[in-house]
Amino acid sequence: MILFALRRFLGFAVTLLVAALVIFWLLDLLPGDPAQFILGINATPDAVARLRAQMGLDAPAHERFLGWIWGMLQGDFGMSYTQRAPVAELIWGRLGVTLPLSIMAMVISVVVGLPLGILAARRRGKPLDTMVMVLAQTGIAIPNFWFGMLLTLLFAVTLRWLPPGGFTPWDEDSGAALRGLILPSLALALPQASILARVMRTALVDVTSQDYIRTARAKGLTMGEAVWRHGVRNALLPVLTILGLQFAYLVAGTIIVENVFYLPGLGRLIFTAISERDLILVRGATIILIVTVTATMLVTDLTYALVDPRLRERSAP
């Protein structure tokens, strides 16, 4: 297990390093000079050159790359030259919206999706199963940001239960902050819950035909007990993989849904950075997103191996 974990961790580190290299190289290709940008068009070439030296921009690319990586390891993501603030601080502030939003969406989709999937599998072929599957089929086809718009129309405009958008910072009024995230997290959760319900149902149906369920039945358990005690646990394995992937993509998906609700999350920060060509900020924010995605996948892999020892023996799938 330790060897497995070490190997996975090494893979994680290499992926991040290569991803950082790709991002650095791509954004380095861009024309445009941050020093020129800061000083404006009227600056003398002399002043620009001095600022370039001061910002370390005249160093060779590999030195700047290593400097960037080294800085990040110490929590220094550089300075945003449009917002005149440390990138790490800017990103950290925005994660206060993006992360709670992703976690709430994940929790909702698990709480709704898994029981529905189990229910459908237990009533396989019955009207309830059909109903759940039709719902899931529709849920998968609905773009989450459009669902967000519909939710706003219903709950914010017609019923006036919840705010239509905007965000109150946590330290100002945490209740209001939480209320502001309810609709966005519901919007994000819909397709995820639908996928989870489908995966859970399929996994449970597969498991139900396994020998150990028959053995459990032979020992005198009812079908419900056998499925609950032995089936659900085994069926959760494929579900776990999907969950990991889903959380990773949820974090990326918040970027789109934030737009509907005018939430000040990571996405808004990135869009401002793109339009103002603040490359240091774009670089920092994308690498943070990739770290989140990759780390989630690593944790999923490790959990999976922890839960199912059979997987550790196999070399990398």
């Binding site: 954004l27 086809a141 940001f145 129309l153 849904v257 869009f271 060509r277 990739i290 990759t294």
Partner: protein, 279 residues
């Protein structure tokens, strides 16, 4: 062929998909009104005989916009699938046919690309070259590559152990010929099913990317871009949001039903959930 038609969901899904594609194709030669025709006095009209789906905030005909937008969405998703198949399938086949280090490299590569959700790729490309429909195509296409590589490898591995492949090897075929003549034809059905799934995911992804301004740009239109245009006024004019959104939902449902039907018709053992591109 008869076997295919005995699955009602497949027939319904395929027909519905084809109808949407046909509507999209039609928009290339005819729309009720030119989509760029702005007619401010006639804006925010309700559906009528003249404007089947009403008009938007600029007085443009919504039915024409939806037709043209559906075509853009199909086109973006289809090219992205072509990229995924074109790059991913050879990679997957190579991994299965050669094995060893080739397989290792392909698998690590797919792992690596999975770390880049389409949104992030689109953000990077947009920073590089500015927004455009091509960004969406490339971003979704890159996402599709590891998906097809994995499907091709998985399918090919199970074929590679069969006797006729061994016979091919005995007859002196090299890895490349084995992959081309024996493995590829036998995983076609898998690829078609996956292609349908990736089409529907691609349409959703295109909508998302255009909605946040990283995809299709005016004067062209797509269903996602229509939603972006409606964003500022959807609280007052929900209709502008409902029409393109419903169009997306119907197209994606049609594709998904067709995909599920195909899978059941070809091989009922393949049932599985599909992961999502964006969120």
């Amino acid at each position: 062929m008869n076997r295919l038609w005995s699955h009602p969901s497949l027939v319904i899904g395929l027909i519905a998909t084809l109808v949407f594609v046909a509507i999209g194709l039609l928009s290339l030669v005819w729309t009720p009104y030119p989509i760029e025709q702005i007619d401010i006095p006639r804006r925010f009209l309700a559906p009528s005989a003249e404007h089947w789906l009403g008009t938007d905030n600029l007085g443009r005909d919504m039915a024409s916009l939806v037709m043209s937008g559906a075509w853009t969405s199909f086109l973006v998703a289809a090219i992205a699938v072509a990229i995924g198949v074109g790059v991913g399938v050879p990679l997957g086949l190579a991994a299965a046919a050669w094995g060893g280090p080739v397989e290792w490299v392909v698998l690590r590569l797919t792992d690596f690309v999975f770390a880049f959700p389409a949104v992030i790729v689109a953000i990077l490309i947009t920073t590089l070259v500015g927004p455009g429909a091509v960004n969406a195509i490339v971003a979704i296409g890159i996402f599709n590559i590891p998906v097809f590589a994995r499907v091709a490898r998985g399918g090919a591995l199970s074929i590679a152990t069969l006797d006729f492949v061994a016979a091919g090897r005995l007859a002196g075929l090299g890895n490349a010929m084995i992959a081309w003549r024996h493995l590829l034809p036998n995983i076609m059905s898998l690829l078609i099913v996956q292609g349908t799934i990736q089409m529907s995911l691609g349409i959703l992804a295109e909508a998302g990317l255009s909605y946040i301004g990283l995809g299709t740009q005016p004067p062209a239109t797509s269903l996602g871009l229509m939603l972006r245009d409606a964003q500022g006024m959807f609280l007052i004019h929900p209709w502008l949001t409902l029409v393109p959104g419903l169009a997306i939902v119907l197209i994606v449902i049609a594709l998904n039903i067709a995909g599920d039907g195909l899978r059941d018709a070809i091989d009922p053992r393949l049932r599985q959930g599909n992961p999502n591109v964006l969120a």
